[in-house]
């Protein structure tokens, strides 16, 4: 058994996969310019980020890597203007996800799916200002994006969406991890990377 302490190589891996996750989130997140597509983010982001995340889990065998990844994501989104709820969302869900993943020793596929689901739930924190600080947020959106966008946003993203998102993300995470798993088998194992 190797030591439980994180080594430099682990930390670099965390950095790399965090970078990929952030870029995917950022590119796909651009879709929120169209309010109708907003709920679909909850499927699309886990779906696409499933491939890197599954690959990341093959490199993970110690507690803390997923936690660090989610804390960095949270701080990053805070700096990009998603306010403190992004940090709270990512940190809380990240730690829970890490605990769950550790129970499966980062190798059981079923537990990986649940862990990935919980990790992805962190992104609810990015949309949470919409509900937690509804007045400030909606007033700001109405002022800058126009009344039309604000009313449509309120229509497609009512406050119960914050709860429903957990279920929607589960679908996304399931599809994403299945896709990721398939890709690992199809490409990476054959190439000898995993």
């Amino acid at each position: 058994m190797e030591s439980k302490k994180l080594k430099a190589k682990d930390l670099i891996n965390v950095g790399i996969y965090t970078a990929i996750y952030i870029v995917i989130f950022f590119v796909v997140g651009m879709l929120n310019a169209i309010p109708v597509l907003y709920p679909f983010l909850y499927i699309l982001i886990p779906l696409i980020s499933g491939i890197p995340f599954m690959l990341f889990l093959t490199k993970t065998d110690k507690f803390g890597m997923v936690t660090i990844m989610s804390i960095i994501c949270g701080v990053f989104w805070f700096l990009m203007g998603y306010t403190w709820t992004a940090i709270v969302g990512y940190v809380v869900f990240g730690i829970i996800a890490d605990l769950v993943l550790r129970a499966g020793k980062y190798k059981s596929f079923k537990i990986d799916v649940i862990g990935f689901w919980l990790f992805s739930c962190g992104m609810i924190g990015c949309q949470a200002p919409m509900w937690v600080m509804a007045d400030t947020y909606m007033a700001g959106i109405e002022q800058s994006m126009g009344a039309q966008y604000a009313s449509e946003l309120a229509r497609y993203m009512p406050s119960w969406m914050g709860i429903a998102a957990i279920a929607i993300i589960f679908v996304g995470a399931l599809l994403g991890s299945l896709l990721g798993h398939k890709m690992l088998k199809k490409h990476f194992e054959r190439a000898g990377i995993v």
Partner: protein
């Protein structure tokens, strides 16, 4: 016996900001932009600061593109009441303008920070904040990696274009989901390889050793950091008034 002095990095000349100033200023600006929304003049001022920073850092092309688009959006916003567009077109234009005005200042600042901060300076600054190494290493890798991802992705785009795999071609419409596979898998492959090389390079430079590592990066607050602090204070007072 002759004594050799330890290597000293050359003294910095000209404009320079401490990495800590950059990060704090970024947090300040984004928070400000979230809570202040009806002040167009302030948006413009907030945009001018990163624009100036970009120009000082000689990123003229980036500055021109972002600054030009921002100015265009500002003009469009000011003249919005003067003409009537069809409904759907109006919505798109309002959205585009709003996105540019709200997000571009933050993009510009982020771009400036990533381009102007050297990794060793960043690490040294984080160590002064006593952030544990378990966070410093991944964060600096993220910083270093985001531009690399862009380059790799551009290379893959070129390679895919040669085979007619890109958005909108006939091949694309035959299998739209395949594009995800064709783009992400090669990217992941090269990322894994780069990651291994990066780890090896970092280990040979003593990362992960038992001794505390020293740094020759010469950081510290200067006169220029004070300027940014005064600017932030002025913006804060303006926002509160």
């Amino acid at each position: 016996m002759e004594k050799y002095e330890a290597y000293q990095p050359p003294k910095r000349k000209g404009f320079y900001l401490d990495p800590r100033t950059k990060i704090l200023f970024m947090a300040f600006v984004t928070t400000l932009m979230f809570f202040v929304y009806e002040n167009l003049a302030m948006d413009a001022v907030v945009a001018i600061i990163p624009l100036t920073l970009l120009l000082i850092n000689r990123q003229v092309r980036t500055a021109l593109i972002y600054g030009g688009l921002f100015a265009l959006a500002l003009v469009a916003k000011l003249t919005q009441g003067m003409y009537v567009l069809p409904d759907i077109l109006n919505m798109i234009s309002v959205l585009l303008i709003a996105m540019v005005i709200r997000l571009f200042p933050i993009f510009m600042l982020g771009y400036y920070i990533i381009e102007s901060t050297k990794t060793d300076e960043f690490v040294a600054a984080m160590e002064k904040w006593h952030i544990p190494e378990a966070f410093i290493i991944p964060i600096s890798v993220v910083f270093r990696f985001i531009p690399t991802l862009g380059e790799e992705s551009a290379a893959i785009t070129d390679a895919m274009r040669m085979r007619g795999i890109q958005f909108g071609t006939k091949k694309f419409w035959q299998a739209p989901t395949a594009i995800l596979e064709y783009r992400i898998i090669p990217l992941m492959m090269s990322v894994v390889k780069i990651g291994d090389e990066l780890s090896a390079a970092a280990l040979t430079r003593g990362l992960g050793g038992l001794k505390h590592r020293t740094t020759i990066a010469n950081i510290g607050f200067t006169f220029y950091d004070a300027i940014i602090a005064i600017l932030s204070a002025a913006l804060l007072i303006w926002a509160l008034l």
